[in-house]
């Protein structure tokens, strides 16, 4: 008897994309930024500072291989070879695991720089909510970091916390946001900060008769409060922008906005590529200054 494959509710959509308006063959500099995180990895290929292609995928358990896989994934729909790349910068917590990078730059700096590209130079506060951390970064008009605060110790408010919760409730993580608003009355947030305890709390609420959507709403609110408590400590100056995967979760973001009192900037770019974009831009800047020396 065939075993029914258990649906993986935590699985979000991996994607790659090629810009039809960019011709890499006439570009002076082709630079690459690779952002290897604990949950996801992205590779962004730029031609003279314009996004030519990118790939966004799950990191998996082998992070040295992830960088290469992300780059291959980004190149998949292009007709470009890896050998055309002039300079590559690695970033993310796994930045030491981008074996082919010419150098690495901190993810804080890359996210600020990337946010400026994606959202525009008016951005002064960047909130990055990734797989396993939350970062609040303040930057100047050039996208240079002036202050930052980070939580990478606790799953509450992070993508991983959301994945685990979605899995528990049997709701695809990409649907969590929308479903959290399909409630009659907005419930109070779950009382536990800790994701592990929130899971027990959620099961108890379901037993008491709460609907799945109501539990999602309560959890999203708790996560928004968690993120807000970090932001509050550093202060939010306009223009405010959100990067990382959680930016796609309206359930959390839309509850966070009234707490901050500022509308976030909008973009059509995939918010998960911000770090890799910043890295690719740094690489481009180095090429322009003639400082892109390949040590190998």
């Amino acid at each position: 008897m065939a075993e029914e494959k258990k649906q993986e509710f935590w699985r979000w959509t991996e994607s790659n994309w090629v810009n039809p308006d960019v011709n890499w063959k006439t570009a002076t500099f082709i630079t690459v930024g690779v952002d290897v995180g604990s949950v996801s990895s992205q590779a962004v290929i730029m031609a003279d500072g314009e996004i030519y292609a990118y790939g966004n995928m799950r990191t998996g358990s082998d992070s040295p291989k992830s960088a290469g896989s992300a780059l291959k994934f980004a190149l998949e729909r292009t007709d470009m070879g890896e050998d055309r790349i002039d300079y590559c910068i690695g970033t993310g917590y796994g930045r030491v695991n981008v074996p082919f990078a010419n150098r690495s730059i901190t993810e804080i700096a890359c996210h600020a720089r990337g946010a400026h590209f994606i959202y525009g130079p008016q951005v002064r506060t960047v909130l990055d909510v990734g797989g396993q951390d939350i970062k609040a970064v303040q930057c100047d008009d050039k996208g240079r970091v002036t202050n930052f605060l980070m939580n990478d110790k606790c799953a509450a408010g992070t993508g991983r916390g959301m994945e685990v919760f979605a899995d528990l409730l049997g709701v695809p993580v990409t649907e969590v946001g929308e479903r959290s608003f399909q409630v009659e009355k907005e419930p109070e947030s779950v009382s536990s900060m800790c994701v592990v305890y929130a899971k027990s709390e959620a099961t108890g609420l379901l037993r008491k008769g709460w609907s799945t959507n109501e539990v999602l709403a309560a959890y999203c609110r708790a996560m928004a409060e968690r993120i807000y408590s970090l932001l509050e400590r550093i202060g939010v100056a306009p223009t405010f922008a959100v990067t990382g995967g959680m930016a796609k979760n309206k359930g959390v973001i839309n509850r966070l906005i009234p707490m901050i009192g500022l509308e976030p900037a909008r973009t059509t770019w995939d918010t998960q590529i911000a770090g890799a974009v910043g890295a690719a831009l740094f690489a481009h800047a180095l090429c322009l200054k003639g400082k892109a020396k390949k040590s190998k």
Binding site: S61, S63, A155, R160, C194, Y197, T203, R207
Partner: protein
């Protein structure tokens, strides 16, 4: 005089029946989602084991996160006693020379400084984070696909110390998966897990000061890997642990029930 202490915890409900200060019956039941049911079942079973009828119990005291539920289920129960007080009384009951007590349960970790009469003078608490409680080891046992009771013995078989970066149970799960893929032995991973958890508990104990004798109660006290790691990190030769330490707080509550 027959007294009873009921500790309604996050995961388990425990009852201890005492006669003239001696334990004559105990029972443990999964709390589940119906605290009322768990409390009544647990109390009934403990009385059965003690060979006492419920109305022979002169005084009953509740503790644990579900202490209010105990009073609802058994209206004649006295006002609930804090887990800190119960823990201090328990330490003194089992080991009169106790001066420091630590109680690690499924979802909370606590430490208290105790005087010669079993009064808590100072305490430290972790109730917010699963990484400082039994839930952490439980989550790790799932990641290692190992029975919870095997975790401790497995850790003691390890011969290597490997560091663990993640504090959080959720992140640690991913880290464990990574370590398994890197062919790290389960024994070494289990040791790292227990060391990390012991580290957090020991930090908590140090906040109130380490004075011997140090007593440990709570279900996690059954975990030999954890106990070994705590002893080492605290720098003490012995950790006094009563048999079936998960009944500690309930015993403390039974003592309080007999006091007033």
């Amino acid at each position: 005089m027959i007294t009873a202490g009921i500790d309604c915890g996050a995961e388990n409900t425990k009852t201890v029946i005492m006669k003239d200060g001696k334990i004559i019956g105990k029972a443990k039941v999964l709390t589940g989602f119906d605290q009322n049911k768990a409390i009544l079942e647990c109390y009934e079973r403990a009385c059965e084991k003690a060979g006492a009828a419920a109305d022979q119990v002169k005084s009953l005291c509740a503790t644990g996160s579900g202490k209010d539920a105990v009073r609802k289920a058994i209206p004649r129960a006295k006002e609930g006693v804090s887990e800190i007080k119960a823990m201090a009384k328990a330490a003194h009951y089992f080991f009169p020379n106790a001066r420091t007590v630590v109680d690690v349960g499924a979802e909370e970790g606590r430490a208290a400084k105790v005087d010669e009469r079993g009064n808590a003078l100072d305490f430290a608490l972790n109730e917010k984070c699963a990484a400082g409680a039994g839930a952490f080891i439980e989550a790790m046992s799932r990641a290692l696909e190992t029975d919870l009771t095997e975790m401790g013995p497995m850790a003691l078989r390890s011969e290597r110390e490997i560091p663990m970066n993640a504090q959080c149970a959720i992140f640690a799960e991913s880290e464990v998966v990574g370590l398994i893929h890197a062919n790290t032995s389960k024994e070494d991973i289990s040791k790292a897990i227990h060391d990390a958890m012991a580290n957090r508990i020991v930090s908590m104990i140090r906040r109130i000061g380490v004075n011997e004798d140090v007593v440990m109660i709570g279900g996690v006290g059954r975990n030999c890997g954890f106990v070994s790691a705590v002893k080492k990190q605290l720098g003490v030769e012995k950790l006094l642990i009563p048999e079936e330490p998960e009944y500690g707080a309930a015993a403390g509550a039974a003592v309080v029930a007999g006091e007033t």
